[in-house]
Subunit: 438 residues, 2 copies
C-alpha cells in the first residue's frame, strides 16, 4: 500500500494503550492521520511510503498539549519578575497591556509563542487573550493545532467594551472558524472575580449551544477565594456550581486552593483541572493538590501559563516540574510517575479540550500530531527506562521533530513554517516600546 | 599590554559587586586569571590579546558551582524512578553499587558527569563517592575544578573496610592531591546515620589540621531525624553540635527538616547549607526553608545531587527550580529574586568550599572560571532584564562557552577536552551490566 510517511523510532510511547513502550516500531501516516503502529519489519513489508524517516536514538510520542496559556504575552517575557502578583499586574503588566494591546501586538506575540512551542514539542495549545482572531491567524500560519479563547470580562479593553461585545465578538469568531480543521474555540471568561453572574450564565448556555469548552482561571490564589467569600458569601467553585458551570465543558485553571469536598465535587461534575505548576510557584499562588485530584478521578491537564509568569512555554520542563512537585506535595515519591506525567501533558489535555477523538495519543485514526525526542546526549544516557528519561532527564533541547496532522513543522530542530529571525526582529521592536513598563 | 584573551559580551554579570549587569563590557584574561572588566573600547585600547572572542547576544558570568553530587551515579541515571527512598536504595541502587563499584565504573561515570556538567555551565563540582581518586582523575582529564570527597562510612564497601581505612585512604588521597591547582578535597562522612561518633570526632579534628571542608548529608528526611531521636535521644544537628562539627567548615546538604532555633544555630555557627531542590522534590524528602535560611544569614549554595535522583546535573535548571520553589514555600513572590539565585549557584558555592578567593565571581585576581549564555533564541527573547532571563527563561541548551582557569572546555556548545562518543559508548556498556538492577 502506498502511503505518505513511515517514521521508525527506537522507542514509541503511544500513551494509549497506557504504560506502553514499543521498541523498534514504525508509525505509518497517510493524509495526515495515523494508519498503524507496527514492528518495523512488518510496517516496511506492508507500506510503500513516499518518505521513510528513521530516528534510531529517539522516543516518538504524541506532541504536547499546552492546556493553558496567553501566547501574546511572550512579548512581555521577563518584563517584571520577582514581584507580588498585584504589584506585577498593577505596575507592569496592565499598564503595558492598556498602552500596547492591538492586533499587530497579538499577532507578533503569538508567532513568537508558536515558534517556542514548536521547538519545545507542543503541537496544540489552548489560549486566552484579546484579539483571539490574531492568535488563530498566527497558529494557522505556524501550522499548529489551537483552541483560541473567546475572552470575556466585565471591563472594557481594546478588544471589546462590555460583556455583550465580548460575547458577540467571540461568537462571531467562532462562526468564522467553523470548518477549520486545526483551530477551534472555547469560551474564556477570565476569572470569577472579573466576570459577573449574568455573562457567566449566558456563557454556560451558549457553550451548550455551540458545543465548545469553557476556559477559566479558578481558585488561583487564597486572596481570590477570600474576596469571593466577602463579596458573594461563597467560594468561587460554589458560585460557579450555582451558575451551572461545573460540567465536563469546564477547564478550571490553577486550582491551588481546594478543600476535600471541592475535589469530590470536581470529580463528580467531570470538570477538568489545568495544572500550571511553574506559574503557581513563581507567583507564590500555592500548591495544587495534584495527586489528590488524580486519586479522586479528576482529569488533570497541564499548562505553562504565559511567558510573563513562567517564563517559558516549555511543556517538557513543565511536565517534569509537575511530576517532581507532586511527589513533595503528596509526601510520596511514587506520586505521579513518569507515564502519568506524559499522559497529563498529552491525552489529558486533548480530553479537557474535547479533542480526544482527534489528538493526544498515537491511536490509528487520530491526526498525526507527533514529536521525536533524542535521548543520545550526555545528559540523557544511559537509557534504562525511556519514559523516565523523557520526563526526568531530557528537556526541550532534545526535541528534534514535530508534526501536526502529518505536516512537519520542526525538522531536526529547525522550524519549517516560521522564520525565527523575522519573529525575533519584531519581538525586539516591541521590547523597545514596552521597556518603559519594565 | 599583551595578554592571552579578551572576551566581549553583550552583558556581563560579575556577581561581585552584587546586583550588577554591565553592558558592552569586555573581560581581560591572562595566565588563567581575570585581569580586568572594562567597557569594551577601554579594554581594546589597553590590551593586545592573542585571541579576542565576541559574544554579541550573550550573558557572560562565572561558571556554576555544583555544591553537591555523586558524579559516578550518572551511570545509574533513571535506573529506577518513582519509588519511595528506601525501596529505591534497597532494591536498586545498593544492589547495583555492591555488585559493580570499582575504579573503572567510577572513572567512566565521572567522565559522563563531567561532560554533562561542562555542557550545562558548571565549572566546579563538589563530589562524594567511593574511589574519589578516580573522580579526581576524571575531573583533571576534563579540565574541571573539583572538590572530591574523602568519603567515610561505618560499613565496608569496595573502597574501604572500616572507618579507619576510609580515613586513612582519604588522608592519603588528600596528600597526593596537594599542590593540584584545580582539585581539592573535603572530608565526606556520608550522613549522621551511617557514621558513628568516633569517626565523626576524628574528622572534625583532621579537618582542622588539614584545613579542608566537611561535606555531609544532613536532615534530608523526617525519617532520619526521627531515627536519630530514637537512637541518640537528639536530632542530628544537635548531635553534630556536641561532636564539634558545626563550624564554617561544614557543608550540610539537603536540610529539609529545620526548626527555627536550628536555623539560628546554623547561622551562628557559620555552617553552609547546600540546597538540592529537585532531588528533595523527587524523593519527597520535604521542603528546605530557603528564604528563612537566607534571612537568618546562612550561606546557601546549590547542588544537583546525583543523576540517579534528579535525573540531570543541570545547574541552570536547578537554580531556576530553587528560585521558583522558594517563592511558593515562603508564600512570597519576591523571595529569592533572580540575582540571588545566580549568587547561590556561583559565589555561595565557592564560599561553602572555601574557594571564594579563587572562583565564584568575576573579580580581578580570581581564576577565569567563566561561561557564556546565548539569549537570542525564540525562548529567551525579548530581553528586558538579562539576569531574569538567565534564571527564568534560559536553560542548559543556551550555554555556549565555558572556561576553567582560562582554559576553554566548551566552545560554541562543543566539548574541547572530552570525547562524548567514547564516553557514551562506555555508558552504554555499563548500562547492559546494570540493567538487571533496574
Amino acid at each position: 500500500m502506498n502511503i505518505d510517511t513511515l517514521i521508525t523510532a527506537r522507542w514509541i510511547i503511544p500513551i494509549e494503550p497506557e504504560n506502553t513502550v514499543l521498541e523498534h516500531h514504525t508509525i505509518a501516516i497517510n493524509d495526515g492521520r495515523i494508519l498503524a503502529i507496527l514492528p518495523s519489519a512488518e510496517a516496511e513489508a506492508q507500506f510503500q511510503p513516499d518518505m521513510h524517516i528513521r530516528r534510531h536514538q529517539h522516543v516518538l510520542m504524541p506532541g504536547f498539549i499546552n492546556a493553558h496559556g496567553h501566547a501574546t504575552m511572550s512579548l512581555m517575557r521577563g518584563l517584571a519578575d520577582d514581584l507580588p502578583l498585584m504589584a506585577w499586574l498593577n505596575d507592569h503588566i496592565w499598564p503595558a497591556e492598556s498602552r500596547w494591546i492591538n492586533p499587530e501586538f497579538v499577532h507578533d506575540g503569538s508567532l513568537l509563542a508558536c515558534a517556542e512551542m514548536i521547538k519545545s514539542g507542543t503541537t496544540c495549545f489552548n489560549d486566552m487573550y484579546f484579539f483571539p482572531d490574531e492568535t488563530a491567524r498566527a497558529a494557522e500560519h505556524a501550522g499548529m493545532r489551537a483552541t483560541v479563547g473567546l475572552i470575556a470580562l466585565d471591563f472594557p479593553t481594546a478588544w471589546a467594551q462590555d460583556a455583550d461585545e465580548y460575547l458577540q465578538k467571540g461568537i462571531s469568531l467562532h462562526d468564522q472558524l467553523s470548518g477549520n480543521s486545526l483551530i477551534s474555540t472555547a469560551f474564556a471568561p477570565h476569572a470569577p472575580y472579573t466576570v459577573s453572574d449574568d455573562p457567566l450564565t449566558r456563557i454556560a448556555t451558549y457553550a451548550e449551544e455551540l458545543d465548545i469548552p469553557i476556559h477559566i482561571h479558578l481558585h488561583e490564589t487564597a486572596f481570590e477565594v477570600q474576596e469571593s467569600l466577602e463579596k458573594f458569601g461563597m467560594r468561587p467553585i460554589e458560585r460557579l456550581q450555582k451558575l451551572d458551570l461545573l460540567s465536563p465543558r469546564l477547564l478550571a485553571v490553577h486550582m491551588t486552593q481546594l478543600e476535600n469536598e471541592e475535589i469530590r465535587l470536581l470529580a463528580d461534575s467531570g470538570v477538568h483541572v489545568v495544572h500550571c505548576p511553574e506559574s503557581n510557584l513563581k507567583l507564590a499562588s500555592g500548591f495544587c493538590p495534584l495527586q489528590a485530584l488524580i486519586e479522586a478521578g479528576v482529569n488533570v491537564a497541564l499548562g505553562t501559563d504565559s511567558a510573563a509568569s513562567n517564563n517559558d512555554l516549555d511543556m517538557a520542563g513543565e511536565l517534569r516540574s509537575a511530576a517532581l512537585l507532586a511527589k513533595a506535595v503528596a509526601g510520596n515519591a511514587s506520586a505521579v510517575p513518569a507515564m502519568q506525567a506524559l499522559q497529563m501533558a498529552t491525552l489529558n489535555g486533548a480530553r479537557a479540550l474535547g479533542l480526544e477523538e482527534e489528538t493526544g495519543s498515537l491511536t490509528p485514526g487520530k491526526a498525526a500530531d507527533i514529536i521525536t525526542i533524542d535521548l543520545s546526549g550526555v545528559d540523557t544516557e544511559p537509557v534504562y527506562h525511556p519514559e523516565s528519561q523523557v520526563v526526568y532527564a531530557a528537556g526541550r533541547h532534545c526535541i528534534r521533530d514535530l508534526w501536526v496532522a502529518g505536516r512537519q513543522l520542526l525538522r531536526d530542530g529547525e522550524l519549517t513554517t516560521l522564520n525565527p529571525a523575522a519573529i525575533l526582529e519584531r519581538a525586539r521592536e516591541w521590547k523597545e516600546k514596552l521597556a518603559e513598563c519594565s
